[in-house]
C-alpha cells in the first residue's frame, strides 16, 4: 500500500523564543516491509542549520537550530511510503518455542541474535521485574511457539487495559500502568516490551502511524489520524515480528513505521532546548495518513 503522511507539529509559546536547538524523529525509515519513497521536513521559522543523519538504530534523525525570535514553531513532515504486510502472518505456530527461544538467545552466535540482545536489557523507560512475569508468565509455556504466545499477550493487554489518554503522561512508569490498567498506545507498548524482556525475549519499541478508516458512508476527516506505537519481538533465527497491543493484532500494511529503539526515549518525535518561551507552551499535533 502507498501512503502519503502529513505530520504537523506546532508549538505556541507564551513569550518569545530567541533561539532553539531540536532533534526530530519524524521521517519514516526503511524496513523489511516498508520503503520510504520521498520525505520532506519543513520548519517555520526558517532554520539556520538543517541536517539529517542515520542514527544508531538506523532511523532518520533530523537536527535544526533556529536563531530567529519566534512565538510559534511549526514543523511539517511530509512523506510517501510503500508498505507491505509482515510475511509470516499465518505461520505463528511453526516457529521456535518459548523454551527454544530463551536458549537460542544466549547460545546463537549469528550477528542478528547477538545484536538483538541489546533489546533484552533494561532501558530508561522499561525495567524488567517479577510483577511483569507474574502478569503474563502463564502464557509463555515451554512448548508454545513464541509468536503465538506473543499474540496471546497482545490480546491480554488489549482486553485487560482501557484506552484512556487522560490516565498517563509520557513519563508514567510501566508499573503504574500495570497497576491502574489504563493508558495509551505508548504505555501498552512499553508494558508489553517489559513483559517480554522480563521473560527473556528481546523486544523493541516501534513508533509510527496507523491508517484509520472513517465509519462507513462518511468522509475521512483531515488530521484525524494519530501517531501510534507498537512493539517488535525477536525470534532467534527468524527475525523481528511486530505486534500491536492497542489494536489486538499483528502490525500490517496500515502500520507505517517512523523509527524504532529500545523505548520511546530513543525515538522521541521532537525534542530539544529552547531559550525563552515562558510557561506552558501549547502543543498541537495533527497527522493525516492518505492512500495514494
Amino acid at each position: 500500500m502507498r501512503y502519503r503522511i502529513k505530520h504537523i507539529t506546532e508549538y505556541q509559546y507564551a513569550s518569545r523564543v530567541s533561539h532553539c536547538y531540536n532533534m526530530a524523529h519524524l521521517m519514516p525509515r526503511n524496513s523489511r516491509r516498508q520503503q520510504c519513497l520521498s520525505t520532506h521536513l519543513d520548519v517555520q521559522p526558517g532554520a539556520v542549520i538543517n541536517s539529517k543523519r542515520e542514527d544508531y538504530f538506523g532511523n532518520w534523525a533530523h537536527h535544526f537550530e533556529i536563531h530567529q525570535p519566534h512565538k510559534k514553531l511549526r514543523i511539517v513532515s511530509t512523506s510517501d511510503v510503500e508498505t507491505r504486510d509482515q510475511v509470516s502472518m499465518m505461520d505463528l505456530d511453526l516457529g521456535v518455542t518459548c523454551a527454544q527461544a530463551r536458549i537460542l538467545m544466549q547460545s546463537n552466535r549469528d550477528i542478528d541474535t547477538l545484536m538483538a540482545r541489546e533489546f533484552l536489557l533494561n532501558s530508561g523507560m522499561v525495567r524488567k521485574g517479577q510483577t511483569l512475569v507474574d502478569y503474563c508468565g502463564d502464557i509463555f509455556t515451554e512448548d508454545k511457539p513464541l509468536l503465538r504466545a506473543t499474540l496471546e499477550l497482545t490480546q491480554r493487554i488489549f482486553t485487560d487495559f482501557k484506552y484512556n489518554p487522560q490516565a498517563t503522561t509520557i513519563a508514567t512508569p510501566v508499573e503504574e500502568v500495570l497497576e491502574n490498567r489504563e493508558g495509551v498506545c505508548q504505555d501498552f507498548a512499553h508494558l508489553q516490551i517489559a513483559c517480554l524482556r522480563s521473560l527473556g525475549f528481546a523486544a523493541k519499541y516501534v513508533s509510527g502511524y496507523l491508517e484509520t478508516l472513517p465509519p462507513p458512508g462518511q468522509e475521512k476527516m483531515v488530521g484525524a489520524d494519530a501517531s501510534h506505537a507498537w512493539i517488535s519481538v525477536y525470534a532467534p533465527g527468524e527475525g523481528w515480528f511486530e505486534f500491536d497491543p492497542t489494536n489486538n493484532c499483528m502490525a500490517a500494511e496500515q502500520h507505517i513505521i517512523t523509527a524504532w529503539g529500545r523505548d520511546y526515549y530513543d525515538v522521541t518525535p521532537l525534542c530539544g532546548v529552547i531559550f525563552g518561551g515562558g510557561e506552558n507552551p501549547i502543543l498541537s499535533v495533527s497527522v493525516d495518513v492518505q492512500r495514494l
Binding site: 531540536n22 530539544g272 518561551g277
Partner: protein
C-alpha cells in the same frame, strides 16, 4: 647520619602482613629511598616545612571540594611531604606496560563506536557494552582525526603483595589529578629546593607540553586553533585543577553559559563578540554535555554540541562517549580483547574481575560474596563499592538481591591489600596504603606517560577507600634515576611559569562580568566597614556626639550598609545591630559575594592576591564573635584587619594584574560603586542642615568615612565648613576619593572598552549618561549646594539623588552591553528521567 647497613631508629618496623614500597624483603630500606629519607630525617624543621607547604597550597587556592558538605567550604588540598619514590628502571617497565594499555584502550574505544567487532566475533558478550550507561548511542560513528580517539588515559595502580604493579581501573571520561600532580610538584620543589635538586627527579612539564601540542593539533581549523577547557563550575570537587590547568596550558576556562552553538559551530562569548572554538578539553561528564541529545536536564553542557562534533567542526577531548571504556567488565575479558585488537596479551596485569552478567561468574560471586568487593559497572555520584565482608547477614541478603535484580550491572573483585608507603603523621613516619594514578597522553604515533603521577595514601593504616572524599592525602611522585651515575642535566624548575598565556587570550565575558562585580562588592564592603568604623568612633569618643548627630550617623550607616530602618534610640539600635549579627551579616554578604566572584575569575588572579583573599576569608569567619565579644572596648579596632586586607586586595589588583579588559572592568566596577557610596554618604551626612557644632561633627564623620579627613585638615587646618568639605569630596579630582575622580576614571575606562567601529562622532549611550551626571554636579555653584532650607539642603539633595539614579542607569547600560544575559533555557519536552 649513619643509616647504611643498620636500620635507622626512626624507621618503623617491617610487617610480614604488609607490603611496603620503601623496604626490601629483608626489611632494609631500598637504596633509592635511602637518600631522601635520610635528608628528610636530618631536617629539624619538618613541621615548619609542612606549614610552608600548607601555606603555598592555600595561597595557590589549591582546594578540593567535599560533596555533601553543607557549609560549601572547600578543603585545602592535602599534601604529605614524603614523596612516593620510584626507581627509574622499575618505572620503565611500568611505563611500557601503561603505554601498551593506552594503545589498547584507544583501539577498544574505536571498536565500540565503530564496527563493534568484539561483539560480532564473540570476544565479549554484547551485554558488556550494551548494559553500560557510558555507552552513548548518540556517539556512534564519531571518530577523531588521526590515530587516536582516546586522548588522555589515566590508570589507578596499586602494588600487590608481591610488589608487582596491578591495574585497579581506568579513567577515560575526563581524568582528574594531572593538575594536582603538578601543584604537588611545584610545592615540593619550593619546600625542599635542594633535596629536590639533588634527587634528580624526572620532570613533569614535558607531559603538559605534549598535551597542549596534541590538543592544538586536533583542531579542524589549523590556521587558528582555539582550545578551551570546559568546567562544570566552582562547585565541582576539582575546580581548582580546572582553573590551574587552564592557566598552565594557556587555554581559556569556560562554563556552559560561555559557549553557544550557532551555524553549526561552537562559539565562545567574549567581549569582542563570538569566537569560534575548535577543541574542547572537557571536565564535564559526557552525559551532561548536550541537553538536546544526552541528559535533557543538564545545565552544564551546550545544546547542540554533539551535532557540531558530528559535522567535524569541533573536537572534544576525551571524546563524548569515552566513559564506556572505564567499564570494569572489560577487565574480565581484557586478555582476549588484547589478543583480538593488539595481537598479544598485556604486560601489565589488572585486578581479577568477575562479572555478574556471566553465568559462571555470578555463581562464584554469590558463593564467595564475603571475600569480594562488589562494584557497580557504571561509576556515578552516589554509587560506591561495597566490601561484602563488612556486611551483616541482613546486609548480605540485600546485596544479593540487588545483584540478582540486574546482574549485568555488577562486577566483583577480590579484596586486595594495597602496598604501603611511609607517610608523615605528627612528624613520625607511619605506613599507609597507597594508590597511584598515572596519566598518558596521545602523542605522535603513540602515547606519552607523565613520569610520576598522583599518589594518594589512605587516612589510616588499614583504609580501604583511598579518595579525597574519604580523607586521603596526596603525595608527589618522584621517578628518580636508580644508578648513582646520574647524568647532570640543568634542572631549572620552571614548571610554574611554563606556559602562562591565558592573559593573552580573550576571556569569556562571564569572567569579565565577575571581575566587574568583584570590584563593586569589594568597594561596597570597604565603605560599609568604613562608615561602621566612623560610627563606632563617634559613638564612643570621649565627648560623645549629640543625639541628633547620632541619629544621622545611624541613618548613614543604615543607608550604606543596607540595613532595616532604625527603630530604637541611636545607642540601643547600634548595640542591637551588633548583638543580633545584623552588622556582621551585612558585611559578610558583600564579602561573600566578592569571594564568589573571585572564585569565578580564579585563573586571572595571582597567588599573592589569593593570599589576601584567604586573609579576608579568615577575618570574615572570626568577625561575628569578635564584634559581639569585644563590646565596649573599641569595637572599631575589630574591623581593622578586614579593612587592611581589603586595602591590600585593592592594591594588589592594581599592581599585579595586567591592564587587560578584565582589569578595566574590575576598576570600572570599583569606581562606580565608590561614586555611589560617596553619593549616599553625602546625602546622609551633609544634606541635613544643623547647628554649626553638630554640622561640623557630621562633616568630620563624612571626611573620615571617605578617608579624606587628613587631606582636609592639611588644606583647611581646623576650619570645618560645608562648602569646603563638598569641594574636596565632590569636585576635587586630585582627591582619589572624590566623586569627580571616580567619574573621570569611569570616562577613561569607557573609552578604552571594545567598541564596534563607529562612523559617527556621537557619544555612546554610557558616555552620555556619565556626562549628564558630571554636568549635574559641576554646573551647580558650591554656594547653592550648601544653602539650607527647613533643615535640609534642597539643591544638594536633588543633585545627589539625580546623580545616583544616573549612575544606576550607567551600571545597567554597561551590563546590558557587555555581559551575556541570555534567557533561561528549557526542554521542549520535559524529560528528566534517568537514561540507561
Amino acid at each position: 647520619m649513619n643509616s647504611s647497613g643498620s636500620r635507622p631508629e626512626w624507621l618503623y618496623p617491617a610487617d610480614d602482613q604488609r607490603r611496603d614500597d620503601m623496604l626490601a624483603a629483608d626489611g632494609q630500606l631500598l637504596p633509592h629511598w635511602q637518600d631522601v629519607l635520610d635528608s628528610l630525617n636530618g631536617l629539624e624543621d619538618i613541621a615548619a616545612r609542612q606549614q610552608k607547604a600548607l601555606r603555598i597550597l592555600r595561597d595557590d587556592g589549591a582546594t578540593y571540594n567535599i560533596y555533601g558538605d553543607s557549609t560549601g567550604q572547600s578543603t585545602t588540598w592535602n599534601l604529605d611531604l614524603v614523596p612516593n619514590i620510584i626507581a627509574s628502571d622499575e618505572w620503565a617497565d611500568v611505563e611500557s606496560g601503561l603505554l601498551e594499555r593506552a594503545e589498547l584502550f584507544n583501539l577498544l574505544l574505536r571498536d565500540i563506536y565503530g564496527e563493534r567487532s568484539l561483539i560480532r566475533t564473540g570476544v565479549i558478550p554484547p551485554e558488556a557494552i550494551f548494559c553500560h550507561r557510558g555507552f552513548l548511542r548518540a556517539c556512534h560513528g564519531i571518530q577523531l582525526p588521526g590515530e587516536h580517539d582516546l586522548i588522555m588515559h589515566a590508570v589507578d595502580l596499586i602494588r600487590d603483595p608481591q610488589g608487582q604493579y596491578l591495574v585497579l581501573g581506568d579513567r577515560t571520561q575526563s581524568p582528574s589529578g594531572a593538575g594536582y600532580s603538578l601543584e604537588n610538584r611545584t610545592v615540593m620543589s619550593r619546600v625542599f629546593p635542594s633535596l629536590f635538586r639533588d634527587s634528580h627527579v624526572h620532570r613533569l612539564s614535558t607531559f603538559f607540553q605534549r598535551l597542549r601540542t596534541k590538543l592544538l593539533s586536533l583542531s579542524p581549523n589549523p590556521s587558528q586553533a582555539r582550545v578551551v577547557l570546559l568546567t562544570p563550575g566552582p562547585h565541582n570537587e576539582t575546580y581548582f585543577e580546572h582553573a590551574y590547568m587552564a592557566n598552565y596550558l594557556g587555554f581559556p576556562l569556560v562554563q556552559s553559559d560561555d559557549l553557544m552553538v550557532r551555524n553549526g559551530f561552537l562559539w565562545m562569548k567574549s567581549l569582542e563578540g563570538l569566537k569560534r572554538v575548535d577543541v574542547l578539553l572537557r571536565r564535564v561528564d559526557d552525559w551532561f554535555c548536550d541537553p538536546v541529545e544526552l541528559r535533557a536536564d543538564s545545565r552544564l553542557g551546550v545544546p547542540g554540541m554533539l551535532e557540531v562534533v558530528r559535522a567535524g567542526n569541533l573536537v572534544v577531548a576525551n571524546p563524548l562517549g569515552s566513559g564506556i571504556v572505564e567499564n570494569p567488565v572489560f577487565l574480565r575479558y581484557l586478555p582476549d580483547i588484547a589478543k583480538a585488537l593488539l595481537g598479544r596479551e598485556l604486560r601489565l596485569g589488572s585486578v581479577h574481575t568477575y562479572w555478574c552478567g556471566a553465568e559462571e561468574d555470578l555463581a562464584y560471586v554469590l558463593e564467595h560474596l564475603s571475600e569480594l568487593v562488589i562494584k557497580p559497572v557504571y561509576r556515578q555520584a552516589g554509587s560506591s563499592s561495597v566490601r561484602a565482608c563488612e556486611l551483616d547477614e541482613q546486609g548480605l541478603l540485600q546485596l544479593k538481591a540487588r545483584i540478582l535484580a540486574d546482574p549485568v550491572q555488577f562486577v566483583a573483585q577480590p579484596h586486595l591489600a594495597a602496598g604501603h608507603l611511609p607517610s608523615l603523621h605528627n612528624e613520625i613516619l607511619q605506613p599507609r596504603p597507597a594508590l597511584l594514578r598515572t596519566f598518558a597522553v596521545a602523542s605522535g604515533e603513540s602515547y606519552s606517560l607523565m613520569p610520576g603521577g598522583l599518589t594518594r595514601v589512605g587516612a589510616a593504616e588499614n583504609s580501604f577507600v583511598i579518595a579525597g572524599q574519604a580523607g586521603a592525602r596526596s603525595k608527589d611522585t618522584w621517578v628518580v634515576d636508580s644508578d648513582h651515575e646520574r647524568t647532570l642535566i640543568s634542572e631549572q624548575l620552571d614548571d610554574s611559569g611554563a606556559l602562562r598565556e591565558a592573559d593573552l587570550v580573550s576571556m569569556p565575558s562571564r569572567v569579565v562580568e565577575n571581575l566587574f562585580w568583584m570590584g563593586r562588592y569589594a568597594e561596597r564592603a570597604e565603605s560599609t566597614l568604613r562608615i561602621l568604623r566612623t560610627t563606632f568612633i563617634q559613638f564612643n569618643s570621649e565627648s560623645p556626639a549629640g543625639n541628633e548627630v547620632k541619629d544621622h550617623l545611624l541613618r548613614a550607616l543604615q543607608n550604606m550598609a543596607v540595613l532595616v530602618p532604625a527603630e530604637l534610640g541611636a545607642d540601643e539600635q547600634l548595640d542591637e545591630w551588633v548583638e543580633n549579627g545584623t552588622l556582621s551579616n551585612s558585611i559578610s554578604s558583600n564579602l561573600n559575594a566578592m569571594l564568589f566572584c573571585a572564585d569565578q575569575a580564579k585563573e586571572l588572579l595571582s597567588s599573592d592576591t589569593f593570599r589576601v583573599i584567604n586573609d579576608i576569608r579568615d577575618a570574615l569567619q572570626s568577625l561575628p564573635t569578635e564584634l559581639t565579644g569585644n563590646k565596649g572596648s573599641a569595637p572599631e579596632e575589630v574591623l581593622d584587619p578586614l579593612v587592611t586586607a581589603l586595602m591590600a586586595f585593592a592594591g594588589l589588583t592594581q599592581e599585579s594584574m595586567n591592564r587587560s579588559f578584565g582589569w578595566r572592568f574590575m576598576e570600572l566596577g570599583r569606581r562606580l560603586e565608590r561614586a555611589q557610596q560617596i553619593n549616599t554618604a553625602v546625602t546622609s551626612l551633609l544634606v541635613p542642615a544643623m547647628a554649626e557644632s553638630d554640622q561640623n561633627r557630621l562633616a568630620e564623620a563624612l571626611l573620615l568615612t571617605l578617608e579624606t579627613l587628613i587631606s582636609y585638615r592639611r588644606r583647611y587646618r581646623g576650619r570645618m565648613s560645608v562648602e569646603t568639605s563638598l569641594d574636596l569630596i565632590l569636585l576635587d579630582s586630585s582627591n582619589p576619593r572624590s566623586l569627580m575622580y571616580q567619574l573621570e576614571h569611569i570616562a577613561e575606562y569607557l573609552k578604552a572598552m571594545p567598541q564596534p567601529p563607529a562612523v559617527l562622532h556621537e557619544l555612546t549611550l554610557e558616555e552620555r549618561t556619565l556626562m549628564q551626571a558630571e554636568v549635574l554636579v559641576k554646573l551647580t555653584p558650591l554656594k547653592e549646594f550648601s544653602l539650607s532650607d527647613d533643615g535640609q539642603r534642597p539643591a544638594l539633595l536633588q543633585a545627589m539623588s539625580q546623580c545616583h539614579q544616573l549612575l544606576g542607569q550607567l551600571s545597567d547600560q554597561i551590563t546590558d552591553k557587555y555581559f551575556d544575559h541570555r534567557e533561561a533555557s528549557q526542554q521542549l519536552v520535559r524529560n528528566s528521567m534517568e537514561i540507561l
